[in-house]
Amino acid sequence: MKVAVIQFPGSNCDQDALWALRLVGLEAELVWHTERSLEGFQAALLPGGFSYGDYLRAGALAKFSPVMQEVRRLAQRGYPVVGICNGFQVLTEAGLLPGALLANTNLHFTCKEVFLRVERTDLPFTRAYTPGQVLRIPIAHGEGRYYADAETLERLEQNHQVVFRYTSPQEAPSKEGYNPNGSLNDIAGIVNPAGNVLGLMPHPERAVESVLGSADGLPFFRSLKQALEVVV
Protein backbone atom coordinates (compact mmCIF):
# COMPACT_ATOMS: atom_id res chain seq x y z
CA MET A 1 0.00 0.00 0.00
CA LYS A 2 2.50 2.56 -1.11
CA VAL A 3 1.60 6.06 -2.31
CA ALA A 4 3.65 7.71 -5.03
CA VAL A 5 4.04 11.46 -4.54
CA ILE A 6 4.86 12.71 -8.02
CA GLN A 7 7.57 15.38 -8.23
CA PHE A 8 7.32 17.53 -11.30
CA PRO A 9 10.04 20.08 -11.78
CA GLY A 10 8.61 23.02 -9.86
CA SER A 11 6.37 21.01 -7.50
CA ASN A 12 6.73 22.52 -4.07
CA CYS A 13 4.19 20.83 -1.82
CA ASP A 14 5.69 17.38 -2.47
CA GLN A 15 7.46 17.21 0.89
CA ASP A 16 4.38 18.52 2.68
CA ALA A 17 2.23 15.81 1.11
CA LEU A 18 4.78 13.17 2.02
CA TRP A 19 4.80 14.42 5.61
CA ALA A 20 1.00 14.29 5.84
CA LEU A 21 0.79 10.78 4.33
CA ARG A 22 3.43 9.48 6.70
CA LEU A 23 1.77 11.20 9.63
CA VAL A 24 -1.24 8.90 9.28
CA GLY A 25 1.05 5.90 8.87
CA LEU A 26 0.92 5.51 5.12
CA GLU A 27 3.97 4.39 3.24
CA ALA A 28 4.85 7.03 0.67
CA GLU A 29 7.72 7.89 -1.62
CA LEU A 30 8.68 10.70 -3.94
CA VAL A 31 8.72 9.77 -7.62
CA TRP A 32 10.57 12.01 -10.11
CA HIS A 33 8.52 12.98 -13.15
CA THR A 34 10.79 11.18 -15.62
CA GLU A 35 10.02 7.75 -14.11
CA ARG A 36 8.24 5.48 -16.52
CA SER A 37 6.96 2.96 -14.02
CA LEU A 38 4.83 3.17 -10.91
CA GLU A 39 5.21 -0.54 -10.27
CA GLY A 40 4.63 -1.26 -6.60
CA PHE A 41 2.50 1.81 -5.93
CA GLN A 42 -1.20 1.54 -5.19
CA ALA A 43 -1.99 5.23 -5.24
CA ALA A 44 -0.60 8.46 -6.64
CA LEU A 45 -0.68 11.97 -5.29
CA LEU A 46 0.05 14.94 -7.54
CA PRO A 47 1.12 17.70 -5.16
CA GLY A 48 0.77 21.44 -5.24
CA GLY A 49 3.34 23.86 -6.54
CA PHE A 50 4.28 25.42 -9.84
CA SER A 51 5.12 22.55 -12.18
CA TYR A 52 7.21 23.99 -15.01
CA GLY A 53 6.81 27.34 -13.32
CA ASP A 54 3.11 27.23 -14.22
CA TYR A 55 4.31 28.82 -17.40
CA LEU A 56 1.84 29.09 -20.24
CA ARG A 57 -0.96 27.85 -17.94
CA ALA A 58 -0.96 26.13 -14.58
CA GLY A 59 -0.46 22.40 -15.13
CA ALA A 60 -0.27 22.76 -18.91
CA LEU A 61 3.29 21.55 -19.38
CA ALA A 62 3.35 18.88 -16.68
CA LYS A 63 0.88 16.74 -18.56
CA PHE A 64 3.67 15.87 -20.99
CA SER A 65 5.90 14.40 -18.25
CA PRO A 66 6.70 10.72 -18.85
CA VAL A 67 5.27 9.64 -15.49
CA MET A 68 1.79 10.81 -16.50
CA GLN A 69 1.28 7.68 -18.63
CA GLU A 70 1.65 5.62 -15.52
CA VAL A 71 -0.60 7.89 -13.48
CA ARG A 72 -3.20 7.40 -16.18
CA ARG A 73 -2.74 3.62 -16.01
CA LEU A 74 -3.14 3.63 -12.22
CA ALA A 75 -6.29 5.71 -12.56
CA GLN A 76 -7.75 3.37 -15.16
CA ARG A 77 -7.11 0.39 -12.94
CA GLY A 78 -9.15 1.99 -10.20
CA TYR A 79 -6.39 2.98 -7.79
CA PRO A 80 -6.79 6.22 -5.90
CA VAL A 81 -5.24 9.22 -7.64
CA VAL A 82 -5.33 12.63 -5.91
CA GLY A 83 -4.36 15.99 -7.31
CA ILE A 84 -4.04 18.84 -4.85
CA CYS A 85 -3.95 22.42 -6.15
CA ASN A 86 -1.39 22.29 -8.98
CA GLY A 87 -2.00 18.53 -9.03
CA PHE A 88 -5.70 19.20 -9.70
CA GLN A 89 -4.72 21.54 -12.53
CA VAL A 90 -2.50 18.82 -14.00
CA LEU A 91 -5.30 16.24 -13.80
CA THR A 92 -7.70 18.49 -15.69
CA GLU A 93 -5.08 19.44 -18.26
CA ALA A 94 -4.34 15.75 -18.76
CA GLY A 95 -8.03 15.02 -19.22
CA LEU A 96 -8.25 12.74 -16.18
CA LEU A 97 -10.85 15.09 -14.73
CA PRO A 98 -13.32 17.26 -16.65
CA GLY A 99 -13.27 21.05 -16.77
CA ALA A 100 -10.45 23.50 -16.27
CA LEU A 101 -9.05 25.87 -13.70
CA LEU A 102 -8.89 29.49 -14.75
CA ALA A 103 -7.39 32.60 -13.22
CA ASN A 104 -9.09 33.64 -9.97
CA THR A 105 -11.59 36.41 -10.60
CA ASN A 106 -9.55 38.67 -8.29
CA LEU A 107 -6.65 38.09 -10.70
CA HIS A 108 -4.10 37.35 -8.03
CA PHE A 109 -2.64 34.52 -6.05
CA THR A 110 -4.66 34.13 -2.86
CA CYS A 111 -3.47 32.40 0.29
CA LYS A 112 -5.94 32.15 3.13
CA GLU A 113 -8.22 29.86 5.08
CA VAL A 114 -11.51 28.90 3.47
CA PHE A 115 -14.45 26.76 4.50
CA LEU A 116 -15.43 23.63 2.59
CA ARG A 117 -18.52 21.50 2.74
CA VAL A 118 -17.99 17.77 2.26
CA GLU A 119 -20.57 16.64 -0.27
CA ARG A 120 -19.71 12.94 -0.39
CA THR A 121 -18.37 10.61 2.23
CA ASP A 122 -18.40 7.35 0.27
CA LEU A 123 -15.04 7.91 -1.39
CA PRO A 124 -11.58 6.60 -0.54
CA PHE A 125 -10.68 10.20 0.32
CA THR A 126 -13.63 11.23 2.43
CA ARG A 127 -14.88 8.24 4.39
CA ALA A 128 -13.63 9.63 7.68
CA TYR A 129 -15.79 12.76 7.30
CA THR A 130 -19.47 13.10 8.10
CA PRO A 131 -21.85 14.17 5.34
CA GLY A 132 -22.18 17.96 5.15
CA GLN A 133 -19.26 18.48 7.52
CA VAL A 134 -17.69 21.93 7.17
CA LEU A 135 -13.89 22.01 7.10
CA ARG A 136 -11.46 24.85 7.64
CA ILE A 137 -8.61 24.41 5.15
CA PRO A 138 -6.14 26.82 3.49
CA ILE A 139 -6.00 27.65 -0.18
CA ALA A 140 -2.98 29.04 -2.01
CA HIS A 141 -3.44 29.51 -5.73
CA GLY A 142 -3.76 32.02 -8.54
CA GLU A 143 -5.69 29.83 -10.96
CA GLY A 144 -8.39 28.01 -9.07
CA ARG A 145 -11.62 29.12 -10.69
CA TYR A 146 -13.28 25.89 -11.69
CA TYR A 147 -14.88 26.08 -15.09
CA ALA A 148 -16.75 23.58 -17.23
CA ASP A 149 -19.39 24.07 -19.92
CA ALA A 150 -23.02 23.94 -18.84
CA GLU A 151 -23.53 20.38 -19.97
CA THR A 152 -20.48 19.07 -18.13
CA LEU A 153 -21.46 20.98 -15.04
CA GLU A 154 -24.93 19.52 -15.15
CA ARG A 155 -23.52 16.03 -15.52
CA LEU A 156 -21.11 16.56 -12.62
CA GLU A 157 -23.96 17.61 -10.37
CA GLN A 158 -26.22 14.76 -11.45
CA ASN A 159 -23.52 12.16 -10.89
CA HIS A 160 -22.63 13.71 -7.55
CA GLN A 161 -19.07 14.27 -8.68
CA VAL A 162 -18.67 17.47 -6.70
CA VAL A 163 -16.93 16.42 -3.49
CA PHE A 164 -15.96 19.72 -1.87
CA ARG A 165 -17.69 23.06 -2.16
CA TYR A 166 -16.69 26.45 -0.82
CA THR A 167 -19.10 27.59 1.85
CA SER A 168 -19.35 30.10 4.65
CA PRO A 169 -18.44 29.19 8.22
CA GLN A 170 -21.33 27.69 10.19
CA GLU A 171 -21.11 30.27 12.95
CA ALA A 172 -21.33 33.14 10.44
CA PRO A 173 -23.45 32.01 7.49
CA SER A 174 -23.39 34.42 4.58
CA LYS A 175 -24.59 34.42 1.02
CA GLU A 176 -21.45 35.79 -0.55
CA GLY A 177 -17.77 36.36 -0.12
CA TYR A 178 -16.94 32.78 0.75
CA ASN A 179 -16.05 31.63 -2.76
CA PRO A 180 -12.42 32.77 -3.05
CA ASN A 181 -11.85 32.42 -6.77
CA GLY A 182 -15.14 32.55 -8.66
CA SER A 183 -15.46 28.80 -9.18
CA LEU A 184 -18.70 27.77 -10.86
CA ASN A 185 -21.15 26.16 -8.44
CA ASP A 186 -18.65 26.93 -5.65
CA ILE A 187 -16.69 23.87 -6.71
CA ALA A 188 -13.51 23.24 -4.74
CA GLY A 189 -13.00 19.58 -5.58
CA ILE A 190 -14.40 16.96 -7.93
CA VAL A 191 -14.05 13.25 -8.57
CA ASN A 192 -14.26 11.15 -11.74
CA PRO A 193 -17.36 8.99 -12.33
CA ALA A 194 -15.58 5.90 -11.01
CA GLY A 195 -14.81 7.71 -7.78
CA ASN A 196 -11.07 7.03 -7.69
CA VAL A 197 -9.57 10.18 -9.23
CA LEU A 198 -10.02 13.29 -7.13
CA GLY A 199 -8.83 16.83 -7.61
CA LEU A 200 -9.17 19.74 -5.19
CA MET A 201 -7.75 23.23 -4.96
CA PRO A 202 -7.50 23.57 -1.15
CA HIS A 203 -4.58 22.02 0.69
CA PRO A 204 -5.60 19.31 3.16
CA GLU A 205 -1.92 18.56 3.79
CA ARG A 206 -1.57 22.02 5.31
CA ALA A 207 -4.23 21.24 7.90
CA VAL A 208 -3.10 18.02 9.54
CA GLU A 209 -1.91 19.24 12.94
CA SER A 210 -3.49 21.66 15.37
CA VAL A 211 -0.18 23.50 15.66
CA LEU A 212 -0.69 24.54 12.02
CA GLY A 213 -4.06 26.05 12.89
CA SER A 214 -6.35 23.26 11.72
CA ALA A 215 -6.42 19.46 11.66
CA ASP A 216 -9.45 19.28 9.39
CA GLY A 217 -7.38 17.78 6.59
CA LEU A 218 -6.28 14.83 8.66
CA PRO A 219 -9.39 12.68 7.97
CA PHE A 220 -8.66 13.10 4.26
CA PHE A 221 -5.42 11.18 4.66
CA ARG A 222 -6.92 8.78 7.21
CA SER A 223 -9.62 7.91 4.70
CA LEU A 224 -6.98 7.17 2.11
CA LYS A 225 -5.16 4.95 4.55
CA GLN A 226 -8.30 2.99 5.32
CA ALA A 227 -9.09 2.63 1.65
CA LEU A 228 -5.61 1.37 0.83
CA GLU A 229 -5.72 -1.17 3.63
CA VAL A 230 -8.85 -2.59 2.00
CA VAL A 231 -7.15 -2.73 -1.39
CA VAL A 232 -4.52 -5.15 -0.12
Binding site: G99, L102, A103, N104, T105, Y147
Partner: protein, 83 residues
Protein backbone atom coordinates in the same frame (compact mmCIF):
# COMPACT_ATOMS: atom_id res chain seq x y z
CA UNK B 1 13.92 25.19 -44.19
CA UNK B 2 13.35 27.42 -41.22
CA UNK B 3 10.04 29.07 -40.56
CA UNK B 4 8.94 31.68 -38.12
CA UNK B 5 5.65 30.70 -36.54
CA UNK B 6 3.16 32.93 -34.74
CA UNK B 7 0.50 31.15 -32.75
CA UNK B 8 -2.35 32.79 -30.84
CA UNK B 9 -4.05 31.05 -27.94
CA UNK B 10 -7.16 32.76 -26.69
CA UNK B 11 -10.07 32.11 -24.36
CA UNK B 12 -13.22 30.89 -26.05
CA UNK B 13 -16.00 33.38 -26.48
CA UNK B 14 -18.37 33.36 -23.56
CA UNK B 15 -15.75 32.43 -20.99
CA UNK B 16 -15.28 35.11 -18.40
CA UNK B 17 -11.95 36.83 -18.97
CA UNK B 18 -11.25 38.86 -15.83
CA UNK B 19 -7.93 40.05 -17.20
CA UNK B 20 -9.62 41.37 -20.33
CA UNK B 21 -12.16 43.10 -18.16
CA UNK B 22 -9.51 44.68 -16.00
CA UNK B 23 -7.68 45.98 -19.08
CA UNK B 24 -10.97 47.24 -20.51
CA UNK B 25 -11.62 49.11 -17.27
CA UNK B 26 -8.22 50.74 -17.42
CA UNK B 27 -8.60 51.74 -21.07
CA UNK B 28 -12.09 53.10 -20.60
CA UNK B 29 -10.81 55.02 -17.59
CA UNK B 30 -8.29 56.59 -19.99
CA UNK B 31 -11.24 57.52 -22.28
CA UNK B 32 -10.46 55.03 -25.01
CA UNK B 33 -13.71 53.98 -26.77
CA UNK B 34 -13.05 50.22 -26.50
CA UNK B 35 -15.22 47.19 -25.79
CA UNK B 36 -14.93 43.44 -25.55
CA UNK B 37 -11.28 43.41 -24.61
CA UNK B 38 -9.85 39.89 -24.47
CA UNK B 39 -6.37 38.91 -23.38
CA UNK B 40 -4.66 35.83 -24.74
CA UNK B 41 -1.18 34.53 -25.42
CA UNK B 42 1.03 34.76 -28.44
CA UNK B 43 3.78 32.23 -29.06
CA UNK B 44 6.53 32.88 -31.53
CA UNK B 45 9.11 30.30 -32.49
CA UNK B 46 11.42 29.09 -35.18
CA UNK B 47 10.57 25.75 -36.70
CA UNK B 48 12.54 23.46 -38.98
CA UNK B 49 10.33 21.95 -41.71
CA UNK B 50 10.71 20.72 -45.30
CA UNK B 51 7.97 22.97 -46.70
CA UNK B 52 5.59 25.71 -45.73
CA UNK B 53 2.67 23.31 -45.73
CA UNK B 54 4.44 21.00 -43.33
CA UNK B 55 5.49 23.90 -41.15
CA UNK B 56 1.85 24.93 -40.96
CA UNK B 57 0.77 21.40 -40.11
CA UNK B 58 3.37 21.14 -37.35
CA UNK B 59 2.39 24.54 -36.02
CA UNK B 60 -1.16 23.29 -35.89
CA UNK B 61 -0.10 20.28 -33.84
CA UNK B 62 1.86 22.47 -31.48
CA UNK B 63 -1.15 24.72 -31.03
CA UNK B 64 -3.22 21.67 -30.23
CA UNK B 65 -0.69 20.41 -27.70
CA UNK B 66 -0.32 23.72 -25.93
CA UNK B 67 -3.92 24.90 -25.77
CA UNK B 68 -6.68 23.55 -23.59
CA UNK B 69 -9.80 22.77 -25.64
CA UNK B 70 -12.02 23.15 -22.59
CA UNK B 71 -11.65 26.90 -22.60
CA UNK B 72 -9.25 27.92 -25.33
CA UNK B 73 -8.98 28.17 -29.09
CA UNK B 74 -5.80 28.59 -31.05
CA UNK B 75 -4.97 30.12 -34.42
CA UNK B 76 -1.84 29.70 -36.49
CA UNK B 77 -1.54 33.41 -37.16
CA UNK B 78 1.50 33.41 -39.42
CA UNK B 79 4.06 31.11 -41.00
CA UNK B 80 6.97 32.92 -42.60
CA UNK B 81 9.99 31.45 -44.29
CA UNK B 82 13.26 32.66 -42.80
CA UNK B 83 16.22 33.63 -44.93
Amino acid sequence: MKYHITLLIELKDGILDPQGRAVEGVLQGLQYPVENVRVGRVLEMELEAPSEAEARATAHNIGKALSNPVMEVFVVEAVKELA
